[in-house]
């Protein structure tokens, strides 16, 4: 006891000087580098953060679509058996209006991000970055949000303004960071 107290005091004093927390935690986490995490770090943000190198066009995307997407999303993205990727009715038609890329999605990066992480549904993360850019371009062009000749890449994609970008609000503004 007689030696512990001064040592504890010393530790506290040092911690205070260093500006560090004095809480005792197990420290069992293994240090890793961002390079180690790269394969998992797949979030593409609205400002383009996280978008990888690569590019694609609607025409390239159309070919990949026929090969890998059409069985679920139908010809030209018209849907069935799963979600339609084109069209959509005005959101003022009712609270149960189906949400589509054209009438609802606020950011073009969501299209890229979701294809990259989740599609094809049975073989997620098997597409190359070029393929994801091409499919994103194809779907945006189907919806007339970009032109048929537009190239999508880390520079151009975040600049695509989605029709409903300004259609959102938080439920509790005071809770937003």
């Amino acid at each position: 006891m007689s030696t512990l107290k001064p040592m504890l005091f010393l530790a506290l004093a040092l911690a205070f000087v260093a500006g560090e927390s004095v809480a005792q935690t197990p420290r069992l986490g293994k240090p890793v580098s961002e390079a180690d995490i790269a394969a998992w770090d797949i979030s593409a943000m609205p400002d383009g953060t996280g978008l990888p190198p690569g590019s694609g066009t609607p025409a390239q995307g159309a070919k990949i679509y026929v090969e890998k997407c059409i069985s679920c999303h139908g010809e030209n993205g018209t849907g069935k058996p799963f979600a339609a990727l084109v069209g959509g009715t005005p959101l003022t038609n009712g609270i149960e209006t189906p949400k589509t890329i054209a009438n609802f999605w606020g950011y073009s990066t969501i299209v890229f991000d979701f294809i990259r992480r989740a599609m094809p549904f049975q073989q997620p993360r098997t597409l190359t970055n070029d393929e994801v850019y091409a499919l994103t371009a194809y779907i945006l062009a189907l919806n007339k949000i970009i032109d048929d000749k537009d190239v999508m890449n880390a520079e151009t994609l975040p600049k695509v303004k989605m029709p409903n970008r300004d259609g959102f609000m938080p439920r509790f503004p005071a809770m937003m960071p």
Partner: protein
């Protein structure tokens, strides 16, 4: 005690609201005496109508104790309802049978679950949780290492943002509390505070959000304010004392007490601290909901104050006039429930229900109300208040701001809209048939 009772005269409990709602205190304090007074039973004269004999199961040795016990064969109907009976490969749901349960926590086998790309078969020895982004030192944690951290336990409900979606129907959908409200459950969760792990990684002051991501095939991801991480977020490893069920996130999930279910990311493998939210598919699309003016709420966060009556409710039977207990669950993402009012006359008069202790923050609170049904038509409603003075909105005011469908909802498994926290009403006719009604 019975001798004691037999020597006393008991007054009938006071009627506190229309159609036979009785003083909640009579039930709580009176116990058996209350029942005796109300139903005319006499504890002294409580003899069976026929002489008792041993039943067959009392005359033979029972089965040997199994390693993992399951409910009685007479309770086989108490199961979750499934949305994908033919194992269709799409989002699958299992709903909690609230009308067949009581108490405040949900058995693990009956906890609701929604899986957007199936339930991954995760080897806990291989699973890792990585925390990176705007931190001083990115760290990876194994399940084994997290189990050595100081653990905390708390009761918490988890509710899907789409729970009660059929309630947006312009006409009441005739369905059980399970079908209408089965996407909420309540458990005791045990795990490591996220703030403890963030203390070890350090937090860059620029970090305002963190992106949580699962190890499921579509790497489901949601953005959460860092403030919530430092408040009460837990990396949950146990559910009601045992390790998480696969459908609830085995081997670990994010638990954000009181917040939208989908944000409580299951199979958690990655947390990235960021300045801005990711605007992921599930926050930018699926769990954003359309308002009548065509705008949409994005980042709802809270599951607001809510209650519904489970007994009696659609799918159960009344057994003639007389005494019943009305009961149900109330909860709020804002904290504790402080009051639940019950009406048996469609909202004309209200009486205060008893709240089963302990009443815990962001957890189910079971409410109870003694009731003497005179056999006439009634409409039962419950309405809850939480400690932050939020009150469950009446249906008329709720749909005025949030809308309802243009056509009646015919499929109770669909999601016409989200975050319904208004009233549920059960109508009972003279035959004792229970229907879902709008009061």
């Amino acid at each position: 005690m019975s001798n004691d009772l037999s020597n006393k005269t008991w007054e009938a409990p006071a009627v506190v609201a229309g159609n036979g709602l009785l003083d909640r205190r009579a039930f709580l304090n009176g116990g058996a005496a209350f029942a005796a007074a109300l139903t005319g039973y006499s504890l002294v004269k409580s003899a069976a109508a026929e002489p008792l004999v041993d039943d067959p199961w009392s005359r033979e040795t029972g089965t040997v104790t199994p390693a993992l016990q399951t409910p009685s064969r007479f309770e086989k109907h108490v199961v979750r309802t499934l949305s994908n009976p033919k194992n269709e490969t799409r989002t699958s749901h299992g709903r909690t049978p609230h009308h067949l349960l009581s108490g405040t926590f949900t058995p693990n086998s009956l906890h609701f679950t929604i899986n957007h790309s199936g339930i991954p078969d995760i080897d806990p020895g291989q699973h890792r949780l990585v925390i990176h982004g705007l931190v001083k030192q990115p760290l990876a944690f194994t399940v084994e290492s997290l189990l050595r951290y100081p653990l905390v336990s708390r009761m918490s409900f988890v509710e899907c943002g789409g729970n009660s979606a059929p309630m947006f129907s312009i006409e009441p959908v005739q369905a059980t509390a399970q079908a209408l409200h089965g996407l909420v459950s309540c458990s005791e969760w045990t795990g490591v505070r996220l703030s403890t792990l963030l203390e070890e990684t350090g937090i860059d002051p620029k970090a305002k959000w963190f992106i949580a991501e699962g190890a499921d095939s579509l790497a489901l991801s949601r953005s959460v304010p860092v403030k919530k991480a430092l408040d009460d977020a837990i990396i949950a490893l146990y559910q009601n004392g045992e390790r998480l069920m696969p459908g609830n996130g085995y081997p670990m999930r994010l638990l954000l007490p009181g917040w939208e279910g989908n944000m409580n990311v299951k199979f958690l493998r990655r947390i990235k601290l960021t300045e801005e939210p990711a605007m992921s598919y599930y926050e930018g699309r699926t769990y954003s909901q359309i308002l009548p003016n065509g705008k949409a709420y994005r980042f709802y966060f809270l599951q607001e104050v809510k209650s519904f009556i489970t007994h009696p409710s659609f799918g159960l039977k009344m057994n003639g006039p007389g005494y019943y207990e009305i009961s149900g669950v109330a909860y709020s993402g804002n904290g504790r429930i402080v009051k639940v009012m019950i009406s048996a006359d469609g909202g004309k008069s209200w009486g205060e229900a008893a709240l089963q202790e302990p009443v815990l923050s962001k957890a189910f609170t079971r409410f109870r109300m003694p009731w003497r049904w005179d056999g006439g038509p009634v409409v039962l409603l419950s309405r809850a208040w939480d400690e932050t003075a939020n009150v469950q909105p009446l249906r008329a005011e709720f749909v005025a701001s949030r809308g309802q469908t243009r056509k009646p909802v015919t499929n109770p498994l669909g999601f016409p809209n989200q975050h319904y926290n208004s009233i549920t009403s059960w109508g009972i006719d003279r035959n004792g048939e229970i229907k879902h009604v709008y009061a």
